[in-house]
Structure formats: C-alpha cells, structure tokens
Amino acid sequence: MDLSFSPEDEAFRREVHEFIANNYPERLKGKNRREFSEREDFLAWQKVLYKKGWVAPLWPKEYGGTGWSITQRYIFNEECARAETPQLLAFGLSMVGPVIYTFGNEAQKKRFLPGILSAEDWWCQGYSEPGSGSDLASLRTRAVREGDHYIVNGQKTWTTLAQYADWIFCLVRTDPNVKQQEGISFLLIDMKTPGITVKPIILMDGAHEVNEVFFDNVKVPAENLIGEENKGWTYAKFLLVNERSGIAGVARSKKQIERLKEIATSETVDGTPLIGTDEFARKIAELEIDLTALEFTELRTLAQEAKGKHAGPESSILKIKGTEVQQRITELTLEAVGYYAFPYARAFGDNEFPPGPDYAVGQSGTYFNMRKTSIYGGSNEIQRNIIAKAVLGL
C-alpha cells in the first residue's frame, strides 16, 4: 500500500510532459473540442501519439500497446488532461480494436488493427436502433448470408460522427428465429459500400454529432464477420464492459474543475470572486470530494485488473459516478457564467465574437450536450440494473 511515485515514474512523467509540450499539433492549439469542425481536427493528436507508439496504452503489447503499469497509465492520463489534449475517439481504439484482437482471426487483426492505431481508418459504432436503446438485444437490422457475402438491411441511429467514418462495426440479426441474444452477429462494414446513407441528427445544443445510418441491400464480405455467426452478443457485451471501464474520465474532470475554478475566480458577486462565496466554494468542494472518491474507486478497480481480474459489473459504478461528476461540472459552470449563458453561441459566425467573456461562450451548450452522458453507453438506469443483478444478486 503506497501512493508515492518512484523515481522511474517521475522520470516517465517528465518524459510525457515534454513530449506533449514538443509535439502538440499546431492546428489544435487554442481550440477546444467544441470548435473541432474538420475530420483532421479529431485525428491530429492521435497521429502524433501513434508515431510515438503511445496511442493504445490499454492494448496488449503484441498488438501495439505500450506495456505500461497502472501507475504509468495514471500519469499519462493526468499529463494529457493537464495539457488538455483532445480525447482520442473511442470507437476504434477502445471499442472495436479490443474486440478484434480478442475475438477476430489473424487476417482481421492484420487488416484492421494497424489502421485503427494509425487513425487511417475512422470507425463508428452501429449498435443502437430506433426501436432498441437500452434494450440493445432487440435490434432488427438484418444480415442475410448469400454465398460469401451478407446482405444487410436496416437502420442504426445515434451513430457518433458517422459523417467522417470509413468503417462501422455493427450488430446485426442473422437468425430471427431464436432467442434475441442468440441470433446476433458482429459485422465490420465499409462505409463506402453502396446502399449506405448517413443522415444527420441535430442535438438540442445545435450540434451535429450523431447520425442515422441506413442500410439498403448493403453487400458485406463474409470475411468481415467477427468470431462466429450468431455469437455477436458475447462480443457486444465484452465491448460494453470495456467501454465502461474507461468512462470515469477522472483526469479530464480534474482539469475541468480547474477551469471551473478559474471561471469562478473571474466572475464576481458584489465585487468578491464567486469562488470566494460560501455557497459556491462548498459546491465545488463537494464536487472535488466526489471526484476524489471516484478516483480511488477507479484505482482500486485497476489494481484488481492488474492482478488479472477482468473489470466486472462493478465497473458500472465508474460510468454512473463518472458521468454524474461530468454533468455536475457543466451545471456549475453554467451557474458560474450567469447571464452570459443565454447567448446561443452557434448563432455567431466563425469570425464573430459572441458577447460576454470568452470562457462563457458555449457553456450552456456544453451543459445541454452533456445530458447525453447519462443516456449513452447503457443509460445510468441500465448500469444500476446491472449492479443490482450482477453484484448484489437481486
């Protein structure tokens, strides 16, 4: 039991720190995620990390992972968050990548893993459908085997950034005559295949982040099937648990709280900084304390994992508390900026400055947008169902 960092760890921290300082892409400087508009904005940082070999700390070394200890991963995350590097998109690196190296065949690993690491291939996720949100297994997109191809028909929705994607990994129904979970397969589909249409969904903050994806007789080579036909539910669940474990976002939230504190130092109430008022100071303290507890809950989970125990249903706690903290940060930020939360930031052109201080711009949009976090990736209600059943045995 020990919280301290070894001299090697400290050296590693310096290395990461310097690497970021020296290699952070010019095009991203001063931009934040809400200003990313082009494909390259999302990929620039991943490409830098890829060259360094640091793009996939969670992957096994043989497939391109870094082989870092928990402590090193912790340090790396902290340094990235501190420097406010953009978060890498999860769809390739955290979602389909691990599915491929765990359940894919050699040809698939060879074909797909390099493109995921290098960001040459942009992946998106074809899980949700209009009729199936939390009840994922009720999905209806059909894939019918015809010779060495599947013919896919149906619709996916809430597909994040599909407008940029090269590939989509899909859950499809290959056997409609068995129990729901037993007739699902996991298919990789080239987004350029004829018959695929992407239609934007605009969210309440005005963002075009998610899409509907329609499949009209889309021909997919059978070699793009992961694992066995009709065993897709197993891989899907593996991916969901894997997704949960990274979702706490502790290092990022720490940084966001720092930002919030800066804002609350600039904003004043009757001449005193907002952060100097009892009520706001207490709210921030409560938030930080919640985050500290979450951080150590995550560290305890990671320590278990390091001993070879795979993250189990307990990791749902990280999703629940992680998103609660993230949402609360945006809520307090909204409070902090006062009336300047009102202007609709997206109404202003690229070269216009919206009214109010810079830090206030878009904060209400972020607050609205972040409501999604307790809905996606298995809603927080579903996560509680999981804990109730799998951990408490209810």
Partner: protein, 377 residues
C-alpha cells in the same frame, strides 16, 4: 382565504389555451423563433385583440383590471406553449414600472399603448459584471439641465430587439452597489446614442447587448423618484418572478405530460418503459415538482401586495422552487426520453432550455436562497 377562480378568470384561461392550441403549436413556435425577427408581430396583435395585454392592467388606463392573477393564468399557458413574444417584459415589467413608478402623465401615455399592443418594452438592467445585484451598476445618468445624459453598457437584454422602449436602470448618485442612487428611465430604443447588438438566446428568444453613448434623456424619461429606483426595481421584478414561476409551472406540466405519454408507448425489453418502477417514481417526483411550482406561483401571486418583506420572501421562495424544480423536471424529461430527448426535433429539449434560462433570470437559486435567508433574520 379564497382559492377559487372567478368566472372571468376561467374564461380567460380557456380563451388563451384555445388560441395557443389553434395558433401556437410546437411547429409554429419553431418557425417563429427561427424567423429572422425571432417573434411574430401578427401573433402579438392577436394577443392584443384577445385582450391579453389589457387583462392585468388597471381599468382607468385601458386595462381590464385583472391584476396579477390574470398574469399568472396567461403566463402559465404561455409557458405551456413556449411563447417567445415579449409579454412579460412589456406587460409585467413595463406595465409594472409604470403602475408603481409612473407619473399620471406617464401612465396615461404608456399604459394604454401597452394594453392595445402598440408598444413593446424590454428591461435593460443586467451589466457585464453586475450579476444579480440590481444596484451593481456602472451605467450612469448624469443631470443635464432638466434631463439626463445616459452612458453605459447593458448585457443580455431579453426581447430588446423587438422593443420600442427600453427601461434602463442607471446610477444617478452614490458608488457602485450603493442601494441609494439608482434610477430608472424610459429610453426610446431608436434614440441617438443607443446602439444594440442583437442575437438569439439558447431558448429561441432574442436579446441584445446595448450601449448608451451620451444619450439625451428628457426629464419625463425618469420613472419614479430619482435615486430611489432600487425598491421600484425589486417590486417590479418580484412581480415578474411571479409571472415566470407560472410560466415555468406550465412548461413543467408539458414536460411531465410528454414524458408520461412517451414512456407509455416507448417499449424496451418488450414492455412500455413506463412500467419500470424507477421511471414511474421519477415521473412522480416530476409531478410533485410541477405541483409545488404551481403552488408557489399561486402563493407569490397572492402575496405581491403584502408588505415588502413578505413580498420579497415570497418571490425568492418561488424563484428557488422554479430553479430547483425546473432543473429536475427538465433533466429527467430528457433522461426518460433517452436519445430522442437530446434532439432538436423533439419539444423536450426546448422546454428544458427555456427552464434553464428562467432558472437564471432575475437571480438563480443561490441568489434567492441568500435573499430569502437574509429576509428571515
């Protein structure tokens, strides 16, 4: 004590509700709020024809004498329909300043114009660094002969782009944040030296940043007693809080109804999600918040003419309930609609955003908790 509506009040509610059902559905709201102007002058005229602007105003100045209860009735229905037209800023705030602060001549001149819909007003009180303190002013009005010269900046003035007349708070004496030395003026929006930057707000309304650059104001621009404007502002904004609490209650009820309907039809795991007990109880808590907000709208409306401390406490209490209840109902409505609740397409997000704005307007929960606590000493 009497909690029943008069026949006229019931008629008023029915006629507002019917008009909005016929002419102001969600699609109309979207169309109007996204139009270049950001409001509908024709709807505004029809409101006037229905007598809505006249309803709460005094009879001697072209009103119908319905008072705050009529305002409550109208605003609750407006909240249900997401109305963006500047009723609160014109009739409640503008009308309020004139009723409580206006000279006989000012009342004569303006109240009938408000009542017949020919004038739109907006209240320019907030400043970039003033937050929720109405006395935290850097805008100044300096004596200039019999009139004043106005200089300064106002922030996020709701409805200003539609307004003919701005009601502006400015310092006429004392230092920043002194409670004495605040005065209120009627300013022609097209006066020389007034420049505005107009923009849409997150909830489909319009607002402006306004600068006043040596604007000449005649003596009759002053509302109420010079230097004593703070009490007037508090009185009028307490009345506005009452109106917006009713508006919020209306919005919450729509969110509740929409959510209940949605969860009855949306199926997951083979059953309507409204059958899941956790979601049921969540909706019950939304129901409770909507009911408590309705109660608070009634409470503050009926206490507006009591003593100053009682009125202020009532308004702050209502605003706290509006803020907390609105946040809870809005967030849960989105949550229970799942992904669909996040979209621009559904009405849910729009009500959520309106409630978020109302949460902040005239001071957020923290501000009013503090005000309430200070008044309880």
């Amino acid at each position: 004590m009497d909690f029943s509506y008069s026949e006229e009040q019931t008629l008023l509610r029915n006629s507002v509700a019917k008009f909005l059902a016929d002419h102001y559905d969600f699609e109309s709201y979207k169309k109007i709020s996204r139009s270049e102007a950001g409001w509908s002058r024709s709807v505004w005229k029809q409101f006037a024809e229905l007598g809505l602007m006249a309803a709460p105003l005094p009879e001697e100045f072209g009103g119908l004498g319905g008072g705050a209860v009529d305002t409550m009735i109208i605003m609750e229905e407006f909240g249900r329909a997401l109305v963006v037209e500047p009723f609160a800023s014109t009739v409640v705030v503008g009308g309020g300043f004139l009723r409580h602060g206006g000279s006989a001549a000012q009342k004569e001149k303006w109240l009938s114009k408000i009542a017949d819909g020919s004038t739109v007003m907006a209240f320019a009180f907030a400043e970039p660094e003033g937050r929720y303190n109405f006395a935290d002013l850097t805008t100044t009005a300096k004596r200039n002969g019999s009139g004043y010269t106005l200089n300064g900046q106002k922030a996020v003035v709701l409805n200003a782009p539609h307004a003919d007349v701005l009601i502006v708070s400015a310092r006429t004496a004392g230092g920043r944040r002194d409670t004495k030395g605040v005065s209120v003026f009627l300013v022609d929006r097209n006066a020389k030296g007034v420049s505005t930057r107009d923009y849409p707000t997150i909830d489909g309304q319009r607002a402006s940043e306004i600068s006043f650059d040596n604007v000449d104001l005649p003596a009759e621009a002053l509302l109420g007693t010079v230097d004593e404007g703070l009490g007037l502002i508090e009185r009028v904004t307490d009345e506005a809080i009452a109106a917006h609490t009713a508006e919020a209650a209306g919005a919450m009820k729509v969110l509740l109804d929409t959510t209940v309907e949605y969860t009855k039809t949306r199926k997951q795991f083979g059953v309507p999600i409204g059958k899941f007990q956790v979601l049921q109880h969540r909706m019950v808590d939304m129901f409770i918040q909507a009911e408590q907000t309705t109660s608070m709208a009634l409470m503050v409306t009926l206490k507006l003419d009591e003593g100053e401390t009682e009125r202020k406490k009532a308004a702050s209490a209502a605003k706290v309930q509006l803020g907390k209840g609105g946040r809870f109902v809005g967030q849960q409505a989105v949550q229970l609609h799942g992904g669909m609740g996040m979209t621009d397409e559904l009405n849910v997000g729009h009500y959520f955003k309106r409630l978020a704005l109302l949460d902040t307007l005239y001071g957020n929960v923290d501000h009013h908790l503090k005000r309430y606590a200070a008044l309880s000493d």
